[in-house]
């Protein structure tokens, strides 16, 4: 293979990669333009191999970093509100495929999820939610409301969410946002 041929192949591969990236970005943008607040429904075309799936709206860091953008993603369908809430939060905590940027500190996992009275959900996160946080109030808002909005937007039965860390109530995740009470959906932080 001559040097020119190798260069041509590399160039073609690069062009294909750029094409794929542009397509993914345009899909992401189109989807964020949809109105938020989609309710989780069972998907008719559930994949056969991994059981039924639902489409849930999950939230990621917007391109400018100041808002959350909602993306519809598939999560496993399970029976029961608490179990479904667990699936949604687990999907929200999982690192997303590029170019999406997660608002959750790396390594954060779901320890437990409980449903309380009056539509409150209690989400118990692992300690990484605090110790691996960037420490900015901007990111803290995004972390908190990515989870709060993921539950309240997809499950109408859940109207407020309180975050716990390592099984305990906490004042804040990184020193700013008050977590002592359940928080309600925040539509203002979602990119229009």
């Amino acid at each position: 293979m001559t040097r020119t041929q190798r260069l041509l192949i590399a160039l073609t591969a690069a062009l294909v990669l750029i094409g794929v990236a542009v397509w993914v970005t345009s899909v992401v943008r189109r989807r964020t333009a949809k109105p938020s607040g989609a309710v989780a429904t069972t998907s008719a075309d559930a994949t056969a191999s991994s059981g039924r799936k639902i489409k849930a709206r999950l939230y990621y860091v917007s391109l400018d970093g100041t808002k959350l953008m909602g993306i519809d993603r598939e999560v496993p369908y399970v029976d029961g509100a608490a179990a479904q809430a667990q699936q949604i939060v687990s999907a929200q905590l999982a690192p997303p495929p590029a170019p999406l940027v997660s608002a959750i500190p790396p390594g954060t996992t779901l320890r437990a999820l409980y449903l309380g009275g009056k539509g409150a959900a209690f989400v118990d996160l692992s300690k990484e939610a605090t110790v691996a946080h960037t420490g900015g109030s901007q990111d803290e808002m995004l972390t908190v409301y990515a989870i709060v909005n993921a539950l309240t937007a997809n499950l109408p039965a859940i109207t407020s969410v309180q975050l716990l860390v390592d099984g305990k109530e906490v004042d804040t995740l990184a020193g700013h946002i008050d977590l002592r009470k359940p928080l309600q959906k925040n539509l203002g932080i979602i990119e229009p």
Binding site: G65, T134, Q138, L142, G175, D178
Partner: protein, 512 residues
């Protein structure tokens, strides 16, 4: 019968009067002032009564016991043991001595029994008590101060000399060295020291230290306005001041040359602006009366184990906020002459509630929390001024218990307003927003701002603040350019300058 009753009543009245006057005579002794620092690092003052017997001043051992957590026991032979945290000190009646672990300390007089109480000479505090306590206890007899712990309480010596027929000079020496700032409001000239308290004495005369200045019509009176401020009331011929500072090895000398107004001033005339000498204090606020803003609490975000946000070059939010808080404190004190409380003065962890407590307990009129931001998008930049955001549920909760009817002294119910402490900010939201807008306007064009520079969020540290309160995010440490900018002197000076201007305008607008 009636006459007998009247005579008895009269006899009782005379007796009561005699007891009362003897009690008053006893309490006429100057009490000791005990200075300590509480958990929130604020200096507290407590009074310790003294009693004069002969030419000696005494304090009651049980007063000392309750103040310093001592256990006092008296054995069958009349010996007294004073125990603190495992260390015991022995006192023997009729002997002017105290002994601790074989060491003997002399006292100017032996302990004296008065009724059921034991009295010990005042010097017992400095000579003996300090040996059993695990914190430093120092007695300053001339100023009747007892200093507990590591407090900075410089001795401040004030002297006035005439420097001509119509002008004069105040010389103020602070030992050990303590910086001071001079500012003026209306007819008050304030000298505020960077210390926990001051121990003031007057060289000219203890009773009339400013007699010469008063005769010249330059200064009328001096008092210690708060723990660290000396306030002089200026006279009708006061023209202005020229300041010089001169440090020596052990003390700091502040010289204030006082000029005479060329013509007698009317009460409406504002004093002339002084000509500052190095270091140049900015006295642009002269003449302004600080209506509504006398104390400002500044909260350097994070600290200790909680480092806050971090920049790629290693900048820590906790260090940046502390550095800017120190600059801000100096600038506000110099330009506005108001008291500044810091929620932390060094690299230490402070609980969120303790931060707001410093402001609430210190009766601050404004609360400003300083932070630096971080983002997962490294291009994000700019400052934002936040106010607290409350939900409708918070509003309902606050109003549900905002007014309760309580029985008053005369039995009639009385309406009392209650706001839960962690929702205290709810009644100040409108003024906090006005302050945030004023700050953002003053920052505009001088430092980079985000696209939404005035915002609200459920900021934990602002919610219990019982005064207008804002949280300022200075910029993003996760942005390489911003990290470099924020740590530079240019940015910090510009930011501090703009913030002082904003506070000044907020204060002036509030006083209209």
């Amino acid at each position: 019968m009636r006459a007998v009753l009247q005579r008895t009543a009269l006899a009782f009245s005379v007796l009561a009067l005699a007891v009362l006057s003897s009690a008053l005579l006893l309490s006429q002794q100057t009490p000791l002032t005990v200075l300590t620092k509480d958990n929130a690092n604020a200096v507290t003052r407590r009074t310790l009564q003294t009693t004069a017997i002969g030419d000696q001043e005494f304090v009651a051992l049980d007063d000392l016991a309750s103040m310093f957590q001592l256990t006092v026991r008296e054995d069958a032979l009349g010996a007294l043991s004073v125990t603190s945290k495992g260390k015991t000190l022995l006192l023997t009646p009729d002997q002017p001595l105290a002994s601790i672990a074989g060491r003997v300390v002399s006292l100017p007089a032996p302990p004296v029994r008065q009724g059921r109480r034991w009295l010990v000479p005042v010097d017992f505090i400095g000579r003996a008590l300090s040996l059993v306590s695990d914190t430093r206890i120092a007695l300053r007899r001339p100023s009747h101060l007892v200093i507990v712990g590591d407090l900075r309480v410089p001795r401040v010596q004030v002297r006035y000399d005439t420097s001509g027929a119509t002008t004069g000079r105040l010389t103020i020496d602070a030992t050990p060295r303590a910086d001071s700032t001079v500012s003026q409001f209306g007819d008050q000239l304030a000298v505020r020291f960077d210390a926990d308290a001051i121990d003031v004495s007057y060289s000219n005369s203890a009773t009339a230290p400013l007699a010469a200045a008063a005769a010249q019509g330059l200064l009328q009176a001096v008092r210690v306005a708060d723990a660290v401020t000396l306030t002089f009331t200026v006279g009708p011929r006061f023209g202005g001041v020229r300041l010089t500072t001169q440090p020596s090895d052990t003390s700091m000398r502040q010289t204030i040359d006082i000029t005479n107004a060329s013509a007698p001033q009317t009460t409406e005339a504002s004093p002339q602006a002084p000509t500052p000498a190095p270091p140049p204090p900015d006295l642009t606020a002269i003449g302004a009366t600080p209506v509504g803003v006398r104390t400002i609490a500044i909260d350097p975000g994070h600290g200790g184990d909680d480092e806050g946000a971090k920049g790629a070059q290693g900048t820590k939010e906790k260090e940046l906020t502390l550095a800017i808080a120190h600059r801000l404190k100096t600038a506000i004190e110099a330009r506005l002459g108001v008291r500044v409380l810091l929620t932390r003065d060094d690299d230490r962890s402070v609980m969120v509630d303790d931060r707001t407590a410093v402001a609430n307990n210190g009766k601050a009129d404004l609360f400003i929390s300083l932070h630096a931001n971080a983002s997962w998008r490294p291009t994000l930049a700019g400052a934002t001024v936040f106010t607290a955001r409350f939900t409708t549920q918070d509003d309902e909760a606050a109003h549900a218990i905002a007014s309760e009817l309580l029985p008053a002294v005369n039995g009639a119910p009385r309406g009392i307003d209650f706001i839960p402490w962690d929702l205290a900010q709810i009644q100040h939201v409108a003024r906090s927003e006005a302050l945030a807008r004023t700050i953002a306007e003053h920052l505009q064009g001088k430092v980079p701002l985000t696209t939404n520079p005035v915002d609200s969020a459920p900021m934990r540290v602002l919610e219990p603040a019982n005064m207008p309160a804002v949280l300022i995010e200075l910029g993003y440490l996760t942005n390489a350019e911003q990290e470099k900018l924020l740590t530079g002197s240019d940015f910090q000076n510009t930011f501090v300058q703009a913030l002082v201007d904003a506070v000044m305008r907020f204060r002036d607008e509030a006083s209209r």
